[in-house]
Amino acid sequence: MTEIAATSTENTRLQRALGVLRDVMARPSGAIGLTLVTFHVILAIISPWIVPYDYRAMDSLSMLNGPSGAHWLGTDHLGRDVLTRVLLGGREALLVTGIATPVAVIWGGLLGIFFGLVGGRLDEVLMRVVDAFLSLPWILKMLVLIVTFGTGIEVLIPTLAFFYGIPVIRIARAATHDVVARDFVSAARARGHGRITVIRRELLPNVLDTLMVEGAMRWSWMLLAFSSLSFLGFGVSPPTPDWGLMIADARGFMSFAPWGVLGPVIALSSLIIGINLTADALAKALGIDRAQKAPV
């Protein structure tokens, strides 16, 4: 790994990425996980063109009807087609978390690497602030911002990206500490390279594996947070279809219309399970122990 990082060209990097991908696909968890994730992503992109009904179309004559030929998954309490809303229900979640995850990993990762390398008084202070943020439950931190600034995706994306970047700082810093003590970093410093060069050429390639696994896990925690917020009524606003919101709406009619909750439950669970299986396979392929990481 070290040799590759030190002498890497675009070509070898691409080859290594392909090798990792092949390794992930060779594992049962990776194959199943990646298939589920790909399926959900493709579905999110094409679903507006394949859904059988308009997701807003209410029908007061067929409310809470069971599964039938016309409505495969039945209808909800406003007479809307459940299948249509399940198919569309992951779009907002994937859009928000798909943008927020890379942003969180990048800002948290760079800050963590930088302070892992530089250390000193400022590093001490930053870690105390990170600790302080991590000692508050995610839901409290996020709700306070959301209630103040509104529930649109333009608020949710930066909020998620900000709070989920904070634990990444700590992970990246720890991973950097492992690398900084190694000879090739000392050698690079002895050659007189500046901090930026050392980070870019020596540290980043070596911390990247950890950040990739971290990113995959962050993504699943973010989905959990996003759908929980929707469920509590602080996420996507109706009538936009969203799994969390749909489960919240359908829960009241669960005793006689269970199809309303089962559709979104299966859809949301399969996506999250897919991401986690992929993250697991990726961690194993890259030789990183993901269980040691706290999902704060």
Binding site: V129, P137, I139, V147, G244, P295
Partner: protein
């Protein structure tokens, strides 16, 4: 070492209190605009701010609030005009009851399963439980709660799916309503601790002294219980303590789903009502609990680990 941990813990709580106070300060609106809503203008707003002491400088109010909080006095809520300490008291007890029941079931189960999966690494037992654990900890609590209510309460009718007991009721009155919330929370906790224990066991079993003991012909179970387990469980305590704050986020969702009268539901209500004094108080309590749990975990590791114990004695 111990003094240093205590000091760092205190610093963390202090920074949290500053973040909470500054956060509420920076956000638009205050307790009075939330309380008066549309009438929040002119004379009425002035009078309210006067009465609540919101006209003083931020530093002055922070000092008042923080010194009150240290004595357990969090002031009064914005709309109810009731003492927050009184409001929080029962709710905190209920949340702790929920967490305690979940831990009482989850910890022994997780240690047992963690050891089994760790020793049988990559065997079918391990694959089944490790994979189940990933699902249990990443599927949102509201999803698993909904499914469990559907199965055990709606279809089978074995357990109540909603808590109707009021906040101030006796502990015994929460049974059997508390069972389903405990199962949901316990599942997440078990999954979590199981994974920590498992990876810890794997690491320790690969250690040189365990290999040495195996070569010496020490009986397998003797190695596991006397040599490996104590060393494997110690680091797990710390990692588990670190995840407490994250688990508390799940407690909030579970309390809302089951209508459980705990601190989490109170927090959601307070945030929706923009009852800022209550939000501040709950945030500070939760952060203090988190820091306290982590300090206790540090202390436990120190007491249980002979190496750290001598260190601690020498240093202090």
């Amino acid at each position: 070492m111990l003094m240093r941990r205590l000091f760092l813990g205190a610093i963390t709580v202090w920074i949290v209190s500053v973040i909470i106070f500054a956060g509420v300060e920076v956000l638009p609106g205050d307790a009075c605009t939330a309380f008066l809503e549309r009438e929040a203008q002119g004379k009425l707003l002035e009078n309210c701010r006067e009465a609540q002491g919101l006209n003083r400088s931020a530093a002055e109010r922070y000092f008042d609030w923080a010194s009150g909080a240290v004595r357990g006095d969090f002031g009064v809520s914005a709309n109810g005009q009731k003492s927050i300490s009184e409001l929080v008291g029962n709710r905190l007890r209920n949340s702790l009851l929920l967490a305690f029941c979940a831990l009482a079931i989850g910890v022994p189960l997780a240690i047992f399963l963690g050891v089994v999966t760790g020793l049988r690494r990559d065997k079918p037992v391990d694959l089944v439980f490790s994979t189940t654990a990933v699902f249990a900890m990443t599927i949102p609590e509201f999803v698993s709660a909904t499914v469990l209510i559907l199965v055990f309460s709606v279809w089978l009718g074995w357990l109540p799916g909603i808590v109707l007991t009021s906040a101030g009721a006796q502990v015994s009155e929460f049974f059997p309503e508390i069972v389903l919330p405990v199962i949901v929370l316990g599942m997440v906790m078990t999954a979590h601790i199981l994974r920590m224990v498992r990876s810890s066991v794997i690491e320790v079993m690969a250690g040189e002294y365990v290999q040495m003991a195996i070569l010496k012909g020490v009986p397998y179970w003797h190695i596991v219980f006397r040599h490996a387990l104590p060393n494997a469980l110690l680091p797990a305590i710390n990692v588990v303590a670190l995840t407490i704050a994250w688990l508390l986020g799940g407690v909030v969702v579970i309390e809302v789903v089951f209508n459980y009268p705990g601190l989490g539901r109170m927090m959601i209500d307070a945030i929706s009502d923009r009852d800022l004094p209550v939000v501040q108080a709950i945030a500070l309590i939760v952060a203090t609990v988190y820091v306290g749990v982590n300090l206790t975990a540090d202390l436990m590791t120190m007491l249980l680990n002979p190496r750290l114990r001598t260190h601690a004695l020498r240093d202090s």
